[in-house]
């Protein structure tokens, strides 16, 4: 009934941005790739190629296994953290997101440091080496990276169920199983399912883990596209495989969006009362066990990376000596670029990408409050680049925008655009969820007192969602700071960022220096975590 057509305008910049720098280039790339590959027949030939087939089966296997293990570990922890209140709960929830803020390379490095040959556990528990390389290592890295996401989404699901429903089941004589089935279980499963699908997508698209932990035989489709374009120099084949990849992942991506939409719809109702942990109830122990295991894994991972970063670079050198070398001329000589320049680039790209993502999130927050019906489509649009995958996104950007921008600034601009595009789907929900908690009557009151809708939004609503903005900003910053896949695809040997430098150092067998870079990236993630925790804030998907 409301006639608030002005709400469309603030949505246009983000729509135009994502369309111009992700959807249209990717669509053109896929279309030209399909025709260059020889149409449907050519695509069929690409699909029949044994190496491509291996990449697709690797993606499905790694995605499926990772999703299964991540749910087995993350969902019980999510149930525990969603249902019960205890001291340190919000800190734990924030801590669990830290690996997600890390570049995948740092996680991979942590897995190697803990489980790999000569790793921390190698001598204590020799059997665990299987988790340090090959398929086991890839799944371990994927699980460490994604299980916390499953936990968070499951916790959101649990928190979304109306407490009165569970209490009603109890007053009608229903036990815990009935309460699970009829009250809170459905929304918990919804959250866990959303987490599982997201883990599957991220793992099937994994790039760094197969590259570093296994090699060509474990390449996912993402790595295969990179290899076809950058190593074998067959961009037409790469575009064709990219088309097949998008076609394959369209369904799980749509499923994820549908699950999250249902989760959001449920989330409107809930405000859960504090509930103490029933330590004597044996049903709670598996959930406690999963939470402890996950927390230990996250702390262990961070500790391992920081420990490796602190180790002497050569026997006899002091602790943290790697950092001195890292910023010294030797590294510049070997890589052709200084760490300081890489650090400057990383900070610059992350800052500008974050500012862009926040600006879009602020405009979109207003637009969606005026036109809530557009939320579903907009979420699908901004999520699309993640499914298109970072490699395909950067491939498309390079193909279609490099000639337009030209000049020496091309690399920087393209990296910036890619990072902003990949940060938007994470910044937007944090602001949107925070805004949904502000009663609508506040803005309407301001309007009845003479404020325009936009001024009322800026003056009344935005100050109230400062925490959401801080969380969105930190999340976007940390993700951009650690972004590797798209940046690696676009960077040149002399124009690079810290995650790319980490990869190169690992490639040229400089583990101590690579660990030092990983340590820097971990510190940025930890600082983000600490700021998020300080305000009792929480990351939202």
């Amino acid at each position: 009934m409301s006639d608030r057509s002005a709400g469309v305008v603030p949505l246009l910049p983000v729509v135009a941005f994502v369309a111009a720098f992700a959807i249209v280039p990717a669509a053109l790339l896929l279309a030209t790739g399909t025709s260059a590959a020889g149409g449907i027949g050519g695509l069929a030939k690409l699909a029949a190629d044994p190496l491509n087939q291996q990449a697709f089966s690797n993606s499905l296997l790694q995605g499926g296994l990772s999703a299964g293990v991540a749910v087995a570990l993350g969902a019980p922890a999510g149930v525990f953290l969603g249902r019960y209140t205890f001291r340190g709960r919000s800190e734990l929830l924030a801590l669990l997101i830290v690996p997600f803020l890390l570049p995948t390379l740092a996680v991979v490095l942590g897995v190697e440091t803990i489980f790999g040959t000569g790793g921390i556990l190698a001598s204590v528990l020799p059997g665990t080496q299987v988790l340090g390389s090959g398929l086991g290592g890839i799944v371990t890295a994927n699980v460490l990276y994604n299980a916390p996401v499953v936990t968070l989404l499951t916790a959101v699901g649990v928190e979304s169920s109306a407490p009165a429903l569970e209490e009603t089941v109890a007053t009608l004589g229903g036990g815990p199983l009935r309460a699970f089935r009829d009250a809170w279980g459905r929304s918990a499963l919804l959250g866990a399912a959303a987490g599982a699908v997201l883990t599957f997508l991220f793992s099937a698209l994994a790039f760094a883990a197969p590259l570093l932990l296994c090699g060509a035989r474990c390449y996912t489709v993402e790595a295969r596209i990179w290899s076809l374009d950058q190593v074998l120099l067959t961009p037409a084949a790469a575009a064709g495989v990219a088309f097949l990849l998008v076609a394959l992942l369209a369904l799980p991506a749509a499923a994820y969006l549908a699950l999250v939409a249902r989760l959001r719809a449920a989330r409107r109702s809930a405000e859960r009362p504090a509930r103490r942990v029933p330590w004597r109830n044996p049903w709670v122990w598996p959930a406690v066990g999963a939470t402890v295991a996950l927390s230990v894994a996250v702390v262990g991972l961070l500790g391992a990376v920081l420990d490796a970063a602190a180790r002497p670079v050569t026997p006899g050198a002091g602790e943290f000596s790697a950092f001195a070398q890292l910023f010294g001329p030797a590294v510049t000589g070997r890589l052709g670029v200084s760490t300081l320049a890489a650090t400057g680039n990383t900070v610059f790209f992350a800052t500008v990408a974050t500012a862009l993502a926040l600006l879009f999130a602020i405009g979109t927050g207003f637009g969606l409050s005026e036109r809530p019906g557009a939320a579903r489509w907009l979420r699908a649009l901004v999520f699309a680049p993640l499914v298109v995958s970072p490699v395909v996104l950067s491939f498309a950007l390079a193909q279609f925008w490099r000639p337009v921008f030209g000049g020496t600034s091309t690399v920087g601009v393209l990296i910036l655009l890619a990072q902003a595009t990949l940060a938007i789907p994470f910044a937007l929900p944090a602001v949107e969820v925070a805004l949904r908690r502000v009663p609508r009557s506040l803005r309407e009151s301001a309007e009845t007192l003479g404020q325009t809708p936009w001024s009322a939004y800026l003056d009344v609503e935005l100050p109230l969602v400062r925490d959401g903005l801080v969380t969105a900003g930190l999340f976007a910053f940390a993700l951009s700071f650690g972004e590797f896949t798209a940046t690696y695809f676009l960077a040149t040997p002399t124009f690079t960022t810290l995650p790319v430098e980490l990869y190169r150092l690992d490639e040229i067998r400089e583990p101590a220096l690579a660990a030092a870079v990983a340590g820097l990236l971990v510190v940025v993630s930890l600082v983000s975590f600490l700021v998020i925790v300080r305000g009792g804030r929480r990351v939202e998907f």
Binding site: M1, E447, T448, L449, G450, A456, L464
Partner: protein
């Protein structure tokens, strides 16, 4: 437009999709008049207010404020104040800043703002709370601040959407007199939506009854209560509605007498009987299945549940229109 006319609504309609919510609503409010809008749930009261303030767009009809047609005028340019069920105070601003908000938006000079805010705080007895944060106030105090904030920019018309609904009975009593006094003192016209018919009849200069999205009756409280225009109006006003000799009759509970079986108009079985504060409440199911509520004075002995009783009424009002 008459010289004292504040609001004029003609043929206003609104709908949610294909479902009409308001149909051909006509309404006039004079300057300084306190109009109470009453009606059952879903009758369109809140939608009407939201259309008047511009938060919803009507499908047809006109709204004019002091002769100015409001068609297409956005909420922030209408100059119509509104108070919501929840006080909607800005939590990041103090009481003083909340009250000053509308004046600052209008870019009034600082001295004017200070003077007007002081005046509003005094009028609603909020002087000592000026520096407090909204979170540190009680429910009643918050509503008083919300009214002060609404009245500060001197709107000609204020819309009150059940502002006492979320406070307890004692605070509600205090608030309604504080609100009525403040609105009278500032000579501001108001449309007050309430479910509480006693409160509505007590406060109103004029009552407007809304049912099914239409205005079914309006007039002074004694006029409306004394002659309900339809069965719906009568039920909403607390009457029993019975059909006698093919005519619908409205009977007030206080006019119902419990009599021996032989001396009565109708007979029935008592289904509920008990002390209800200032009177005894007796509910009787008549032989035709209709239910009738009676109020007996405290000195009377109420019949027990299950007793067959005779009923007589001192007075009834014939309702116009077809039997219901």
């Amino acid at each position: 437009m008459s010289s004292s006319e504040c609001l004029r609504v003609r043929g206003l309609g609104a709908s949610w999709g294909a479902d009409p919510v308001l149909t051909d609503v006509d309404l006039d409010v004079a300057d300084g008049e306190f109009v109470v809008l009453m009606g059952p749930n879903g009758s369109g009261k809140t939608t009407l207010l939201r259309c008047l303030v511009g938060l919803e767009a009507p499908t047809h009809g006109t709204v004019s404020l002091r002769g100015r047609n409001l068609r297409g005028v956005p909420t922030h340019r209408r100059g119509v104040g509104m108070l919501f069920q929840e006080p909607a105070l800005f939590p990041h601003r103090s009481v003083w800043e909340n009250v000053a908000y509308g004046l600052a938006v209008l870019r009034r000079p600082r001295a004017d703002i200070d003077r007007r805010v002081e005046e509003m705080l005094r009028l609603l007895h909020l002087e000592s709370l000026a520096d407090r944060a909204p979170q540190a106030l009680s429910g009643g105090e918050r509503q008083r601040v919300a009214l002060a904030r609404t009245l500060a920019p001197e709107p000609p018309l204020v819309l009150l959407d059940e502002p006492f609904a979320s406070v307890d009975a004692e605070i509600r009593r205090d608030l309604r007199s504080a609100f009525r006094r403040a609105l009278s003192a500032t000579r501001t016209a108001a449309i007050h939506v309430t479910h509480d018919r006693e409160e509505g009849l007590l406060l109103a200069d004029r009552v407007v009854l809304l049912s099914g999205g239409r205005v079914v009756q309006h007039g002074s409280p004694p006029e409306v209560y004394g002659a309900p225009a339809s069965a719906d109006s009568a039920r909403f006003l607390g009457y029993n509605v019975l059909v006698e000799s093919g005519r619908a009759m409205a009977i007030a509970p206080i006019d119902v007498e419990i009599r021996p079986l032989g001396e009565s108009n109708r007979t029935g079985t008592v289904t509920l009987s008990g002390f209800a504060g200032g009177s005894h409440l007796v509910e009787v199911e008549l032989e035709g299945g209709e239910r009738l509520e009676g109020r007996l004075p405290l000195g009377a002995i109420p019949p027990a549940v299950g007793t067959r009783v005779g009923l007589r009424w001192r007075r009834s009002v014939a309702l116009p229109g077809a039997p219901v």
